[in-house]
């Protein structure tokens, strides 16, 4: 049976690549821990948390899960559907703001 081409690529990566990514994941995790350790707050905190999160996720998916070497037909089929979650987040931000507003208006203020 012929091994599909992508596997041959995966076979030839040097171990060093994985070690480098591993070290980077450690560094990024340390950075995100330090955000909490130093007690950063507000938009600085949130943007740093999200930045380190996305960098880590990207490294894991691209290198450890070999997505960087897959054909685009698979990459796009897997990576585009989760974008729907962003729409879902936006909807629920509206919804929760509204709920919060009504709770403040009708429950907390009335006490």
């Amino acid at each position: 049976m012929a091994q599909p081409a992508a596997h041959n690529d995966a076979k030839q990566h040097p171990i060093k690549l994985y070690l480098v990514v591993w070290v980077w994941l450690f560094i990024l995790s340390t950075c995100s821990y330090l955000v909490d350790y130093f007690g950063l707050v507000g938009y600085l905190r949130w943007s740093l948390i999200l930045l380190f999160m996305m960098l880590k996720a990207g490294l894991i998916v691209a290198v450890f899960m070999h997505m960087a070497w897959e054909r685009l037909a698979l990459t796009y089929a897997i990576l585009t559907p989760p974008l729907a979650l962003i729409v879902f987040v936006a909807i629920m931000v509206f919804e929760s703001n509204y709920t919060h507003f009504t709770r403040l208006a009708f429950f907390v203020a009335g006490q």
């Binding site: 081409a5 995790s29 897997i78 979650l85 879902f88």
Partner: protein
């Protein structure tokens, strides 16, 4: 299976790139994922569905946290550990993060050695991954015990919004279950690798078919996904 797929399809693979390549692959009839075996494609599709499960958990957590009028308990304090009389914020969670990342590192190397047909190294690295996974679950069990002793319940806790407990137990519990299943999965495949099943073409107990080293990579995909979910939980639940 690859045996069934006409070789002409694979021969054509790898020509067009970019959008043209995607359109060519998807409109080519019979199979869209040319260079990917069914096992790997199915694992990816499963992981995609799992993404939506964890996505909706995290979104519901966001919704309850943003809509409550009671202050949310400060995770930095809730998950602090006292060592030598000093309160260290989130220490256990940080260690758990490093353990899980390390397990992803050993898993990635196991996949690499698997494709080099070095079965002993592959099996040992997979077992190391499983051991780190067990360590992670044990630390999570410790954390759950600690919080339950302190009075955290799905319906309330001593520090603030009631929804904290239900979000915490639901999200970390579901993730911990995934890790546990991954450890079992790893142990089964590591045993097969160690025994040389994929070198000698030994038939599987359940499927009666010959396995391939690719299963190491498929197991790896699942394991990295578990790590990936933890990246999001760590950022959005513990650090936010």
């Amino acid at each position: 299976m690859n045996e069934i797929a006409p070789t002409t399809l694979n021969a054509k693979a790898g020509h067009a790139s970019g959008w043209r390549g995607i359109v060519a692959d998807w409109s080519s009839d019979q199979r869209a994922f040319k260079t990917v075996s069914w096992g790997k494609a199915m694992m990816w599709i499963f992981l995609l569905s799992d993404t939506f499960i964890f996505g909706t958990f995290l979104i519901s957590y966001m919704t309850v946290r943003a809509s409550t009028v009671v202050p949310w308990p400060n995770p930095s304090e809730v998950f602090a550990l006292e060592i030598g009389g000093r309160q260290l914020p989130l220490l256990l969670i940080a260690i758990m993060t490093f353990v899980l990342i390390s397990s992803s590192g050993t898993m990635a190397m196991a996949v690499n050695f698997g494709y080099r047909r070095e079965r002993r190294k592959t099996a040992i690295l997979m077992l190391a991954t499983a051991l780190l996974g067990v360590t992670f679950v044990s630390m999570q069990a410790f954390e759950w015990t600690k919080l339950i002793r302190e009075g955290v319940r799905p319906w309330g806790n001593p520090w603030g919004a009631d929804q904290f407990g239900s979000s915490f137990f639901m999200i970390t519990g579901f993730h911990g279950t995934h890790v546990t299943i991954g450890v079992i999965f790893l142990a089964i495949i590591a045993r097969k690798v160690w025994r040389g099943d994929f070198d000698h073409g030994r038939r599987g107990f359940f499927t009666s078919r010959k396995g391939r080293y690719e299963i190491v990579e498929i197991t790896g995909l699942y394991w990295h996904f578990v790590d990936l979910v933890w990246v999001f939980i760590f950022a959005l639940f513990y650090l936010w």
